[in-house]
Symmetry: C2
DNA sequence: ATCCTTGCAAATTCTTTGCAGTTAA
DNA sequence: TTAACTGCAAAGAATTTGCAAGGAT
């Protein structure tokens, strides 16, 4: 999808910093602020950490981004896409996306609760195949 | 359920501080570290913030607690119970539990992915009934 | 032209750590 | 008894803020 449209739709100006942030998060899949900053600096030496924070927070609040917490790891951000499931490894901290329809779940929760729901974060934690081998 | 048993099962000593932390989290339902500390101090003036952090982190890693992130609010902790759904209000930050079976979801995700899953955090975000009225 | 955004540095807030004394098992 | 736990204070991280200069619309 087009980030430019998305930014404009939220009345955010299309700056090179914002585009770079979105592109790097997209490329990384799931990433925390520190790591994102380190990567951005490679192609964008002048960017400041404060700018990364301001933008990530702002876009998170606008639901352009979502956040996933795994024990022992910092909050990881990703581009908001269709509702899906995250598989998170408690050992290495990696997060994998899984396409599976959770629309029904959301619909039934909404009608039962009276909440007006608009986004979701579903994280299933455990050990990824690779970490299972290591601990075996 | 019995916290004493649970602590012993994880080789954690049963201290008054730990019991108080668990009891206050239970009573609050969902609470962040700061707020928890403030409440604990009322009945436990000598408790230190460092102790709260150490214990919450430790119990989170052991999955005695789980964590929920809502935009604009600090991480909130709760006692780990049977897998269930959290309804979180992005406006007031409140979190409500909803008993609904997500065992199937977990089982199918596990068999499809090769992950060994052992806990889950399902958060559906939106506006609670009360905040819907305010914004109407 | 205007308002938003950036980058810097400082301030603040949050979290962890080391250690000596205390306590649960 | 002894290994774990607590509280304190200090250190260290993480995050936010104020403001002047620059940039997008």
């Amino acid at each position: 999808m087009n980030y430019i449209e998305q930014l404009k739709a939220h009345a955010l100006k299309v700056t090179p910093q914002r585009m770079a942030i979105l592109e790097e998060i997209e490329a990384a899949g799931h990433i925390d602020v520190d790591h994102l900053y380190e990567i951005l600096r490679m192609n964008f030496p002048s960017i400041s950490l404060a700018t990364v924070y301001k933008n990530v927070n702002q876009m998170y609040e606008l639901q352009i981004l979502e956040a996933i917490k795994v024990p022992n790891h910092k909050l990881q951000y990703e581009i908001t896409k269709a509702p899906h499931i995250h598989l998170a490894c408690d050992s290495c901290g990696s997060v994998m996306d899984m396409q599976q329809c959770i629309g029904e779940l959301i619909d039934s929760a909404e009608s039962e609760s009276g909440y007006r729901l608009n986004h979701s974060t579903v994280v299933l934690n455990g050990l990824c195949p690779s970490c299972q081998k290591k601990s075996a």
